[in-house]
């Protein structure tokens, strides 16, 4: 593999056959000292071999070694002769993040942080076992899968404003419940409104730095303001859908004469029955995740009402924005001067549409799309804005988070979960979790520094820093 540095934070992987396009990696030079970076770069090169890949196989500064596609990967496939690959989306379809603002300040929340975190822990199920907060009868999950967050609006669990501030309005087009297996439906029916486990979390945070005053004002955030961040995805519903379709597509690629360097790149030509069914099922999983995060926000509203004894409207608990970072979307982008319909795969990457884009809610349009970057546990998170440069260079995409450095096993050897918890609490962060052991796996030392990742996308111009948030309380699955 030949890698050339083409700008301060940009590297190109030369397109040697069977690559059809170059690889392009936005990263800090320290990436090349990290364990596993060669495998991650090889995965960027592997994605460049897929039929119909347009311009380049792109990777963001939080790139790390995944399976098939790297985490932090973006690849746009031509709608006419490209493929869709479930591995380019990931098992946790529409894993994403939502930021909720309030009109509370640090001095309001500090004295009541412990009861607030207890109330959140009570209302938002976490971990692998418990049922979600939303009760669904037989047949209702199919409706929710097709309607997404709009299903919750009809039950009074979401407002129209909530929907308009969610990517895709909280509903992906083309969702068909008939494309979802019985197994996925069985797994998903009791999971709507649950956090999940692994790196999923719910954090109560305070905005402690504002970099772009105008954008922060447009997004409704300011210094000292309390916000809540929810990071979660489509749970077992999405995992099963990805499993079902990867298994199906494993043989499809061979039948269409597509040679794959990695089986997890299993794909099907866009327009083929397998691709159409995957996309219809993927849309269902995406809708599940939007509804999941919406339901949890509803529970956050309830928790705040309980602890502060005022309605959530009085407390100003409003959605800033909700973004997906594992998804494949049909978008129109300008390529070589012409508009082209492409299927943009983002696996551990976030959409970052620039100022003026019609898909950005009107109240945010001048600033650009809000981009929410969850940081490593207990450190910091960021709110960014999309840019024109992202539209021109990365199909309107940016990073998604910090990216892992250490394996889970290695992380557990560094410290115990109990030690990690104690350190967080010594730093003033309240931690609630059902699984203390896994705190070590999610500790900040196991991840790259999110500040570095954000600094790179800001320096390259893919998204602009708007505000930084610091956690006060963490609810972890």
């Amino acid at each position: 593999m030949r890698i050339e540095r083409t700008a301060e934070f940009t590297y190109e992987i030369a397109p040697e056959p069977p690559m059809r396009v170059p690889g392009r990696v936005y990263a800090h030079a320290s990436l090349f000292e990290q364990a596993g970076h060669e495998e991650a770069l090889q995965q960027v090169a592997n994605v460049a071999t897929l039929p119909g890949v347009v311009t380049a196989s792109i990777a963001m500064p939080d790139i790390h070694w995944g399976y098939g596609f790297p985490i932090g990967g973006v690849a746009a496939m031509d709608e006419a002769d490209g493929v869709v690959s479930p591995g380019g989306v990931g098992f946790d379809i529409n894993c994403g993040v939502r930021l909720v603002r309030t009109s509370l300040g640090l001095e309001d929340v500090r004295p009541r942080l412990e009861p607030l975190m207890q109330e959140l822990m009570r209302r938002v199920p976490q971990g692998a076992g418990p049922r979600g907060a939303l009760s669904l009868k037989e047949g209702e999950l199919e409706r929710l899968a097709e309607e997404g967050a709009a299903f919750l609006a009809r039950r009074g669990l979401a407002t129209q404003e909530d929907l308009s501030r969610t990517e895709e309005g909280g509903v992906m087009p083309g969702a068909e419940a008939a494309a979802v297996s019985r197994r996925a439906l069985e797994r998903g029916r009791t999971q709507v409104g649950s956090l999940g486990s692994g790196n999923h979390f719910l954090e109560v945070q305070v905005v402690d730095e504002v970099v772009d005053e105008d954008a922060a004002s447009a997004f409704g955030v300011g210094i000292g303001q309390i916000v809540v961040m929810i990071h979660s995805g489509s749970r077992g519903f999405g995992h099963q859908i990805c499993t079902d379709h990867v298994a199906r597509m494993a043989s499809v690629a061979a039948r269409h004469g597509i040679e794959l360097p990695d089986r997890q790149l299993a794909c099907a030509p866009l327009g083929s029955p397998e691709a159409r069914e995957y996309l219809a099922a993927m849309a269902c999983a995406s809708n599940f995740a939007f509804a999941n995060r919406q339901m949890m926000m509803h529970e956050v509203r309830g928790a705040l009402e309980q602890v502060f004894q005022a309605s959530w409207e009085r407390l100003g608990v409003e959605l800033v924005y909700d973004v997906a970072h594992n998804i494949a979307k049909r978008e129109v982008h300008v390529v070589d001067g012409r508009e082209r319909a492409v299927r943009v795969h983002r696996k551990g990457a976030t959409r970052a549409f620039g100022p003026g884009h019609p898909d950005v809610p009107p109240e945010y349009r001048a600033a650009g799309q809000p981009v929410i970057i969850p940081g490593d546990m207990g450190t910091e998170s960021w709110l960014l804005a999309g840019t024109d440069k992202a539209m021109r260079e990365t199909f309107g995409s940016t990073c998604h988070g910090a990216g892992r450095l250490l394996s889970r096993h290695a992380a557990r050897k560094v410290k115990s979960g109990a030690d990690v918890r104690r350190e967080l609490e010594d730093g003033g962060v309240v931690v609630k979790t059902a699984s203390v052991g896994s705190l070590a796996e999610e500790a900040s030392y196991a991840y790259k520094d999110v500040a570095d990742v954000v600094a790179v996308v800001d320096a390259v111009g893919l998204s602009r820093r708007v505000a930084r948030m610091r956690p006060l309380g963490v609810l972890k699955g």
Partner: protein, 139 residues
């Protein structure tokens, strides 16, 4: 040859290497490895049995499908499994009996959770002294 499994390091995920005298044993050991990541196996009683029947286009794909099926049984039926008995294993099909008990959050301490078995570097091979398999799990 011995029978057993080990968990293999990977940045974001976990690999399972399982071995045995027969491919059936590889499947059983891989299942035990999977459930060691779900919950402490010592706490699980044998109370309920589920029959599993699967098909796939190759025995290695069957190995991944098997683990994914067990995840489905755990999540959808809320059953924690502790014993895995592969009765019939062919190139394209598998029949097994798995045993465990309903999830009881008061007794069963759940670990991080596994999302799925991937096809990344999936392998199932016969060696001189037995069989060995590898599956990467997304956790």
């Amino acid at each position: 040859m011995s029978v057993g499994y080990e968990l293999v390091e990977h940045t974001a995920d976990i690999g399972v290497r399982a071995w045995g005298a027969t491919p059936e044993q590889v499947f059983e050991e891989a299942a035990r490895a999977l459930f060691s990541l779900v919950c402490d196996p010592r706490e699980v009683d044998e109370r309920e049995t589920v029959e599993i029947k699967l098909e796939a286009e190759g025995m290695d794909l069957l190995l991944a499908a098997w683990l994914n099926e067990l995840l489905y049984v755990f999540e959808a039926r809320k059953l924690v499994l502790t014993r895995f008995d592969v009765r019939e294993l062919g190139e394209h099909s598998l029949r097994a009996r798995v045993t465990g008990e309903p999830l009881d959050l008061r007794r069963h301490v759940l670990c991080g959770g596994v999302k799925a078995a991937t096809l990344h570097e999936l392998a199932l091979e016969q060696r001189d002294d037995g069989w060995e398999g590898f599956v990467l799990l997304d956790v």
